[in-house]
Amino acid sequence: MSNIDKVFARGKAFIPFITVGDPDIETTEKLVYALEEAGSDLIELGIPFSDPTAEGPVIMGASERALQNSICTDDVFDLVQRIRKNTDIPLAFMTYANVIFSYSIERFAQRAQQAKIDAVIIPDIPFEESEEFEQIFSEFGVDFISLIAPTSRDRVKMIAQEAKGFLYCVSSLGVTGVRSSFSSNLEDLIKTVKQVRPSLPCAIGFGISNPQQAHEMAAISDGAIVGSAIVELVEQYGRDCVSKVKEFASSMKESVS
């Protein structure tokens, strides 16, 4: 059983996202421990990219701040290695194709394995382009996470069939960021997945920003991914954000379970 399998075997998962290096690398480390203490089941660490085309203004801003701090991929790996001395909490990287491609997919996957990263999420690599990445990550024991969206329709079965770890279900149209409503066909989307792969966990992400939404999304899936709402707190409170984030994460975890 992989670490990702264990995450979902425990029950509904709460999966927070933070950008590494926002507001600085020391705070990111503290945030990881705080999120773990708040009951997070898996933490997504965003590696900043200069032009994140799937992100809304909040996470774009976090990327910009991190890059202004000159955070690079090597810094991210160094941080995770430090974190790994203190915790075994499941971790996933979220970044863009070029960050990994330019580092060399193989070298990136190898360092990810050394740092005990469990999964990688790359929003600008759809199913059709995944082979080159998926194969190498799989060699190094890192799950390459697939995404489905409300527009996926006939593609859902094909993607679910090949998916590793868990399936990332995009909640609605558009980019990441807080929103008040989600796509109306999410339940059908997840039903279709479960027909093909009954045991494949599905977590919903994009725009989940309060306990009510987290509760509703987790009720129809296996977990809720929360990014922008946390990053907003980081933006607002800077280095003093840790306790605020912990408090928020605890309330989200509670509503998911």
Partner: protein, 394 residues
Amino acid sequence: MSKGYFGVHGGQFVPETLMNAIIELEEAYNTYKDDPAFNEELTYLLNEYAGRPSRLYYARHMSEDLGGAKIYLKREDLNHTGAHKINNVLGQCLLAKKMGKKRVIAETGAGQHGVATATAAALMGLECEIFMGEEDIIRQALNVYKMRLLGATVNSVTTGTATLKDAVSQTMREWTNRVSDTHYVLGSVMGPHPFPTIVRDFQAVISKEIKEQILQMEGRLPDAVLACVGGGSNAIGAFYHFIDDPDVALIGLEAAGEGADTDRTAATLTVGKMGIFHGMKSYFCQDDYGQIDPVYSISAGLDYPGIGPEHAYLKDAGRAQYYPVTDEEAVRAFEYLSKMEGIIPAIESAHALSYAMELAPKMGPDQIIVVNLSGRGDKDCVSIAKYRGESINE
């Protein structure tokens, strides 16, 4: 399974939300590209509305002054809206109509593609929204006014470097937001498949005409075809029907800005390396960790950190050559053509003219260079005057 590759370049690197939209686009394009009624309608618009075929003009004074090869100018600047961009937008907007789309969105750098898209949208009754970097909105105020006059909404993009690359990113984001009734009219031979192929096919009319015209005028093919390259649409249009003619040299000129050896440059093929961005695998200006570099050129239309995948392939294959041209060289060519032939070229096209000025004297009088004059230079007068230290009111 993967599609739309030119050698190792190309592909479809977009979020899952957009995959069905680009698959539907490809299917629609494959249906209509060989449809006689569609082609008849498009040809009618290109000829009667946009003013095609564009002229192939023998630049006698320039040729005699430089002493060497005969220089011909493909006058895309004479098209309606003043550049080659109209060829592509008429094709894509017609396709969008056939697909039942109600709304088009587009990025723009210099504003030429935005104006062309707003024009075609006005003509065909489509709702139109343009995304343009804040910096470019300042540099190209006249084009912003034109787009609004044509009924389009112009959205200012303030993220990143607030230029063309950020406008492309923001238009992609907007497309994921509202995809079912909206077509993204991509302005160059870039982005995910099928865009590089669709845009190339709609721009290939340029080389098709050059070939017919030069054979009629000179009874032979040119020795070299020159075009400026940002994303690469006018260049691929000018090259396409000559790719299988090995004796015709194909030369793309990219914007070196203040010099390809400085960090104020946009010379992707000179300084870039392989990467994945804006839906495609190709060459990009980027740092060691894959962060896309802020690029610079005096020309807003060439101020882009990537290049279309087919150009990347033509370079790898050695079929086309690409050289950097600086701001200063382009401005000199801008001034030279104005005085010599009475034609004010777009600053983008002036990059290609500059190389022609260098190349022609090295060639014989029996040789022929065709320069694709991709657009006219009215839009650039204010900024070139400023570059020369002169302040003029628009």
